[in-house]
């Protein structure tokens, strides 16, 4: 784990806040976040490809109501970090997708548990209305910290595990992951057509 990866995790944790908690100016989109993250790792082309593939693979899951889509930032950050550490992009992307799905599960648990301190903050706000500002910034800070810890931990685990496993992985697995990676843009593009289907005016 180099300072470069540490910086990448800090940047990704900040960008991830844009997904739900702050701004929502689409900095957390794959096509924006991945090239930004790739500035840290230095492989800009990999950043573009991972960004496009990430957007396409998650294009059919939207944050409607309480639905929590997998994070494009986490997927891009994990893929690019592992790739920067020497793992092939098609392997790294697989871990990126798995990481994004696991992160969504962790995020759901966090949201479910948040009501415990929500009761405390509500009491505080009713006493002094300004407490809402503290509550919002505390929520923002804890979200950033959780994003960073989860991301850094996952990248560290994957890196340790993969570099131990890599010499034992047969050639067939490389081919399989490469073929599946090649199919990603097609899977994404094919689902965009029904997504744009014209129902009624």
């Amino acid at each position: 784990m180099t300072p470069e990866i540490f910086m990448l995790c800090v940047l990704a944790a900040l960008l991830e806040l844009d997904t739900t908690y702050a701004f929502q100016l689409t900095f957390s989109r794959g096509i924006i976040a991945a090239p930004l993250i790739s500035l840290v790792t230095g492989d800009i082309l990999a950043g573009i490809q991972v960004g496009v593939f990430t957007e396409l693979i998650f294009a059919d899951v939207n944050p409607l109501g309480g639905i929590l889509p997998p994070s494009a930032v986490i997927c891009a950050a994990v893929s690019l970090a592992l790739h920067a550490m020497g793992l092939e992009l098609y392997f790294a992307f697989f871990f990126g997708v798995v990481g994004a799905i696991l992160f969504a599960v962790a995020e759901k648990l966090m949201r479910k548990n948040r009501f415990k301190w929500l009761v405390f903050w509500e009491t505080q706000i009713l006493k002094t209305p300004n407490a809402v500002v503290r509550a919002v910034f505390m929520a923002l800070a804890t979200s950033f910290l959780m994003n960073f810890i989860l991301l850094f931990g996952f990248i560290w685990l994957c890196a340790k595990g993969m570099f131990w496993l890599l010499p034992h992985i047969p050639m067939q697995a490389h081919f399989a992951c490469r073929f599946a990676y090649m199919a990603v843009p097609w899977i994404g593009l094919a689902t965009l057509i029904p997504a744009f289907r014209l129902k009624a005016r």
Partner: protein, 273 residues
């Protein structure tokens, strides 16, 4: 509404979803956004604040961009509550406020989800992809030896970012004013825009772009075609298979990511056989 209050609501609305929870959703965010307005409205009646805040801390959930219509409408109704001359009138206005909050949040969420997440986001993605292809950046297969200027890299994402935010920030800023000035008859200003037509047009453009992108991808694979070898056939079969299966999984509501993970598993089995 004073410009400074509108500006504060607008700026604070960027943190509407901070503190999102499964119990009361965006309640903390709504209270945070409306606080400057409530302070201004109840500056001579500070004792009323706890009961007012109690109402804002109840369940609230909508699409974050379209939420601006709720802020304006709720602010207008809150002024009517503050000016109520009798207890009966006050109770009536509070009941109205609650029904506005509930109904408007559902309506705006429905419009916002379809427009911003369902149409504008995938449309701007396709625009970005076309820009990258026009700039010679082939994201289907990357070639590390090619040097690409940084401006090219961020140009496509930047344009997608600009288009999405130009529309969303306009709606956010105007929504506060329109809904504050409008009446219940015009659904708090929502009828001022033809949302269905906008969504319809965005989807129509998106469909053209999506088909164009698939055709470009097919051209990309066919342009280097020399002979019908095993490599070419394998790739063509994989592409065709996934395009077909994506339509099926979409109907079955299976997300793309699971299709990709299944593909990794299936290809591993096939390669071992």
């Amino acid at each position: 509404m004073h410009f400074s209050i509108r500006l504060q609501i607008f700026l604070r609305s960027f943190l509407l979803q901070t503190g999102w929870n499964y119990m009361k959703y965006q309640n903390l965010g709504l209270t945070f956004v409306m606080l400057p307005f409530l302070r201004h409205t109840y500056q001579n009646d500070k004792e009323a604040m706890p009961s007012v805040l109690q109402r804002y801390l109840e369940i609230f959930n909508t699409q974050p961009v379209m939420a601006s219509f709720c802020f304006g409408a709720l602010a207008k109704q809150e002024e009517a509550i503050a000016k109520a001359e009798s207890l009966t009138r006050f109770k009536e206005k509070v009941t109205e406020w609650e029904s506005i909050k509930k109904s408007l949040s559902i309506t705006t969420a429905s419009i916002g989800d379809r427009l911003f997440w369902g149409a504008l986001k995938p449309l701007t993605l396709l625009i970005a992809l076309f820009i990258w292809l026009m700039l010679g950046i082939n994201f289907f297969e990357i070639n590390s030896s090619v040097k690409i200027p940084l401006a090219y890299v961020f140009c496509a994402g930047g344009i997608a970012f600009f288009i999405f935010n130009a529309i969303s920030l306009f709606v956010k800023w105007q929504g506060i004013k329109i809904s504050y000035d409008a009446s219940e008859k015009t659904c708090f200003g929502l009828t001022r825009f033809d949302w269905n037509k906008t969504i319809y047009n965005a989807k129509r453009i998106g469909l053209v772009f999506a088909v164009g992108m698939i055709l470009f991808g097919i051209y990309h694979y066919l342009k280097d075609f020399t002979a019908l070898d095993v490599h070419f056939v394998t790739r063509a079969v994989i592409v065709l298979f996934f395009v077909m299966i994506s339509f099926v999984t979409r109907k079955l509501r299976i997300p793309n990511m699971y299709l990709y993970l299944a593909a990794v598993g299936v290809f591993n089995i096939v390669c071992y056989l």
